[in-house]
């Protein structure tokens, strides 16, 4: 069963509470960035591990009391 009302793509999905006019201004500023990000989206990086390493021992290196 689909929900009675779909989530709002801006406020619910992206978590952006900008008023429509402000959103337009920010989107306009974002256009150049988006053009760059679209280059990334076109790449097949399936077999590349992201440069993020999960390191479970980190908290055990902290000094006492910090």
């Amino acid at each position: 069963m689909p929900p009675a009302t779909l989530p709002d793509p801006w406020s619910d999905v992206l978590g952006s509470d900008l008023e429509p006019r402000r959103r337009e201004e920010v989107l306009a500023a974002f256009a150049d960035v988006l053009a760059e990000i679209e280059k990334l989206r076109a790449l097949d990086l399936t077999d590349v591990h992201p440069c993020i390493i999960f390191e479970p021992t980190a908290p055990y290196r902290l000094p006492e009391g910090s």
């Binding site: 952006s16 920010v26 500023a29 990000i37 990086l45 992201p50 000094p63």
Partner: protein, 464 residues
């Protein structure tokens, strides 16, 4: 040579020998700050304890408790580092922020080494920009000192203090160094603790020094480098003797030049100065090896995605509380914009970052350092948001950091050292990058280049 021009190792020798009083040095810097800073606006806060710190240093040194070459040397701290005796604002006047009065790891290390923390230098708000209003460039007061560590760049270039701390997320140490004509080092990610520095983008932020000479940078790095468990990225590795790396020739070293990206669109004066520097390194006995890294074409996308998303995550509560409307308009827009970067975009940015790290590692298999311009442009006028590069209008935002951000994405050490002046008399920076944790070779090449040229001896007219 006047006192404000004197390199730190010389000041240190004189202080240790009792020929220069730390109190006199601090008073000299304070007098310069009070006289010149109304025009430069490099400082947001001047310490009211610096003379007390200096008196204590003098007493300790006289009693034989010399702590090393920073003992009694004034150092300015960027306003995004916590300090125990000076407020931190991160350049914002927005309500709802307060930061603890405690020393960041870097400030603590400097203080423990006997440095005099003379004041807090201005940052672009939240270290998120390349202008640092209202700070001005000492070479031309109508022009920016760049940013976000523009206050430290301006202060050091004008001789208000021998050294200043900066932080570099996409070029924020090296860009002010380049346009202000100072030395600026972004160390390897994990070499200097970020503890107590207000985050901008967790995996891109690098603390480091701005100084007038490479030898000064080596002195600061000796104190700043080292393990700190409070910074989860900080690595527990031995710290080499950076000063020992200085004075060695470049003969026999392999100097890489990445011909794509870094040389595709530069101001003609910048291009000429950097090409001359490369020729000079070759003439000094270095072997020049040219190569390309085609995947750098995706670097701008990667740093935008990571920096915007990280910054928005950090400022999320301010977005929800509506505080961002009090931010400066450019920073507000960037913080609001980060919501439009999706999680897959972010992760693909981190994937391309892996490939770029591999590409640079491959390049470093056959070279010892990589050189190129720090920036494609020199200092631009305050209020200008576009610049002309090779007859093409380009936004300052995209032009300014084009050559610096690759080393934030890859975490490699990179320094900017003066390599000439443009037709307007504005400084040009040469960027020298090295392998991870090989700051010593970067400093060696920078020092050899600096010592064989007279750029470091030129000072801005306002300084006299």
């Amino acid at each position: 040579m006047e006192l404000w021009q004197t390199p730190i190792p010389t000041l240190a020798r004189r202080i240790r020998a009792g020929k220069l009083s730390p109190v006199a040095l601090a008073e000299h810097c304070l007098e310069r700050i009070h006289r010149l800073d109304p025009k430069l606006q490099a400082f947001i806060h001047v310490s009211d304890t610096v003379l007390t710190q200096a008196a204590k240093a003098e007493e300790d040194i006289r009693a034989g408790r010399w702590k090393g070459p920073l003992h009694g040397i004034p150092v300015a701290i960027k306003d995004n580092y916590f300090t125990a005796d000076m407020p931190t604002t991160v350049g914002t006047t927005s309500p709802g922020f307060s930061y603890p009065l405690r020393d960041s790891a870097a400030a603590g290390r400097l203080r423990a080494a006997g440095a005099l923390l003379i004041g807090k230098t201005r940052t672009h708000e939240f270290a998120w920009g390349n202008v640092t209003p209202p700070s001005r460039n000492p070479w031309d007061l109508d022009r920016v000192p760049s940013g976000s560590s523009g206050g430290s760049g301006s202060a050091v270039a004008a001789g208000l203090c021998p050294a200043g701390m900066g932080s570099d997320t996409g070029g924020s140490i090296r860009m002010p160094a380049s346009v202000c004509g100072t030395v600026g080092l972004k160390p390897t990610f994990g070499r200097v603790s970020r503890d107590g520095i207000v985050p901008h983008s967790w995996s891109l932020d690098h603390p480091g020094p701005l100084t007038r000479t490479v030898a000064d940078t080596a002195v600061l790095m000796q104190v700043l480098a080292g393990y700190d468990p409070r910074d989860p990225a900080c690595q527990d590795r031995p710290v080499p003797n950076y000063t020992a790396a200085l004075g060695k020739p470049v003969k026999g070293l392999r100097v890489g030049v990445c011909r794509n990206h870094f040389f595709e669109r530069n101001d003609t004066d910048v291009e000429a100065a950097v090409e001359q520097a490369i020729s000079d390194l070759a003439a000094a006995g270095a072997t020049i090896r040219e190569f390309e890294i085609p995947r750098l074409q995706y670097g701008l996308a990667a740093i935008f995605a990571i920096e915007l998303a990280s910054s928005t995550a950090y400022h999320d509560m301010s977005l929800k509380a509506g505080r961002v409307k009090h931010y400066t308009p450019d920073v507000r827009t960037l913080v609001e914009m980060g919501r439009f970067v999706t999680a897959p975009d972010y992760l693909k940015a981190e994937q391309i970052r892996t490939l770029l790290m591999q590409d640079f590692a491959h390049a470093f298999a056959s070279v010892d350092v990589i050189v190129g311009p720090t920036m494609p442009i020199t200092a631009w006028k305050c209020g200008e948001w576009t610049v002309k590069v090779e007859d093409r209008d380009e936004s300052v935002l995209s032009a300014s950091w084009r050559f610096t951000f690759p080393y934030n994405l890859t975490g490699l050490p990179a320094i900017s050292v003066p390599c000439g002046f443009d037709r307007r008399g504005l400084p040009i920076g040469l960027q020298i990058a090295g392998r991870p944790f090989d700051e010593a070779t970067v400093l060696r090449v920078a020092h050899a280049y600096e010592q064989s040229h007279e750029w470091k001896d030129r000072t801005p007219p306002i300084a006299h």
